[in-house]
Symmetry: C4
Subunit: 254 residues, 4 copies
């Protein structure tokens, strides 16, 4: 019982870090409110001042995550200040992506429903919508059974995290067979943006296939639309939209 | 009229039983809020202290069930303290599952929309998602007309309940042709969990079939994911999520 | 402007009639809340004390209909007390069904989305779910162009209303090509029940077709399930459910 | 920062113009609430008193647009009173439609999900529902790559706006491949009406195709239903419905 209460520790984080953690709380709520995640799934950021650390909530549904739920980890996913609270068992997804990809500053793991059918039928997910250019020209599929045989499909150790991160490679997105997806980008707002439009693109691609041959974005269009998607103007307009829908009326950095 | 008011009787239930009944109210509301049930469908628990009894609400939409609506039955589905209030006509679903399956402690009968198409086309529902491993490797389909010919499809007597329970056999889930499904598990939280992910898996399997050949969970993956699904950590995280969404902010046992 | 305000007339209706009109307001709100109707569509009742009259709201979205919006009509759809307010142009749907079908006491016309695809592809809608037995063994399709050539598809005169009512014949439901559906039953609660499950059955039939050959209810099952659907117990449980969801907490006659 | 605050200027607009701008705010909120637009998309009106000007919000999600967010532009999409606030980059969609089409008084650009699959598979969207007659007998598809090669798909200059407006031609609606749609009509209420039923028709056409050969509205039915759709009675009933759903309880001009 007592194990589940937040202890009274006060970590001495800078204003920069605290501002980033306040945004991480908003990101948790946005992803829940937009149905990217349900009881499961999580989102993290790399420590803004220490490349060898990251922040992720304790084991809790993202819809209810508050500042006090956020814990600090090293890249082996050991907690910096263990306090007895339950942790997400899949934190190696985050730790190993931060380790293998220095450019990655935010990671989201989710089970958005529209992604699952693509993951169990061999993939083929590709951007067909301008706001989904940011998902990248190809979305690989990682099947945990290739390296690890029969498992409970969870990524619960660093070997599994490394295998997944290798499949993600230089991409921003990757499906996980029978499980969900991972999104890894250069900052928190973009990880939310990509996660949402990855989900939207999957739903639309499924619909479009039923109508005829799909004209996807060309490779050059993917490059140009992802530049456009990540402009501050686009990111801020979307962030304000999703944050206000999730109940945040003030303190939105746009 | 007076028949529809809750009488003033105060059954002398223990604290353990009352806590279980408080959770049963929450389960009713969760299942309504997540659209597993609408005006119809119901959820019960076996009496925590008497294996020959079970608890189920009076005939009322689960969204409105309160503590005072819950009645006690024997395994022939006779009310222990008949008080004139209308009872669900399909309570033999519950009574006979508790009778034939000593391991079953909670039962849910529902008409979740995504399940109906599988029930009327011969079945084939199988887990393809890690959180749906708990539905079991196969989901049988019970067609009431095989044993009983033309009926109104309701399970309104013990013979029908026995026939259904035989079809359920050792499984946790079973579809009912033209009608819905039944879920039978080892406790209340898991019956809610399985009912929700059975519905989700059906929706996703339908989508996946349209995209190509589906890679379902392997038999070993089903075993391993169901162990993982039923861990206290997973069950509690999901229960808190669904209960809070249904409006319960406090008194959630997690 | 003044034309759009409700005048101060106080019709001398009996308590029975006023109670029926209070329920008619609830039915309008239920159908809006369950997405059977949007800005368009309407529901009426035959006058409980005069078989040659019916009640229907002035031209207004059902979601906002209040007691003061309800007008009285004869079976030629002339208003009994014209007061200058705009009337639904399609009231002949109601008038002619009441005229040709003495057994009909309530009528709903709607454009529920799941029905439209069946209406424009030749029909074939049939009950596959026990709570949809009440839609009847066959759901005919009326195509206004057969009798009237090119029109705006609205049923705006008694000839059109007669043609539609002939197509409905002895059934409870009928699709209207490119337009929607009509539901005609023996009382108000059942017209809401049938309208909702007609919509649900259409959505499920479309899904089921994509999975394989559908086992529909047998003719005898249709008869037996419709008897069950219309039992007071079923009707009241559903009415309470939908009415409370639509915001009516009290004064529900169950 | 200061750039993002609304400055204290008070343009001397007439009562007519201010009333139109109040409705433009409502239109923004309706389109957001009905899911025609999400974080992106926008709606404008031609200046009621100057055919060479139009009104459009600053760069902001339509769900949050207020009177103070609305800016005035010439038909080359230059702001009349530049105040440093960020503007939608795609305002040439609006400017060039107003320039090429003197009959057009309102324009909506959106990315409604049901439209995207038709835009990437060559089109074929046609009215099959009476309230969708107003979308017109044919809905052309504009592919930006035909005139401009690889781009980020946004319509960010007047040449692109001219190309799109030529494709729209005399129609009210046009799909944009990989991007969304544009709707151009004779007044604000009708642009909302057409945008919503264009989205609805697309969803229904996709469903209907899966069931069989679709009977679309005949050319004469399209003409007759669009006359009916644009009657004041229909427009007002729908506007009140959508405006009240979006939270506007008063000051609705119906």
């Amino acid at each position: 019982m007592a194990k589940k209460k937040a202890p009274a520790r006060k970590p001495a984080f800078s204003k920069t870090v605290e501002a980033a953690l306040a945004d991480l709380v908003i990101a948790n709520r946005i992803l829940a409110n937009e149905n990217v995640i349900d009881a499961f799934g999580h989102v993290s950021i790399r420590h803004p001042e220490r490349a060898d650390r990251y922040f992720l909530a304790r084991s809790r549904s993202p819809e209810f995550v508050e500042r006090g739920d956020i814990l600090e980890f090293d890249l082996d996913s050991n907690p910096i200040s263990p306090d007895g609270r339950t942790m997400y068992s899949e934190r190696p997804i985050h730790g190993r992506l931060y380790k293998q990809r220095p450019d990655v500053k935010a990671v989201c793991h989710n089970h958005a429903h529209s992604l699952i059918p693509f993951g169990v039928t061999g993939g083929g997910l590709k951007p067909l919508l301008h706001v989904a250019g940011c998902i990248g020209a190809e979305v690989p599929v990682w099947d945990i059974s290739e390296d690890f045989g029969d498992t409970d499909l969870l990524v619960t150790n660093n070997d599994m995290g490394d295998s997944l991160a290798r499949k993600v490679s230089r991409n921003r997105t990757c499906l996980m067979r029978g499980h969900g997806a991972v999104v890894a980008t250069h900052d928190l707002k973009s990880v939310v943006f990509v996660a949402i439009y990855l989900m939207v693109n999957a739903a639309l691609q499924k619909e479009a296939r039923a109508l005829g041959t799909v004209k996807f974005l060309s490779p050059a269009e993917v490059k140009l639309t992802e530049q456009m998607n990540f402009k501050e103007r686009s990111q801020n307009r979307a962030w304000e939209y999703w944050a206000r829908r999730a109940g945040f009326k003030t303190a939105i950095n746009v």
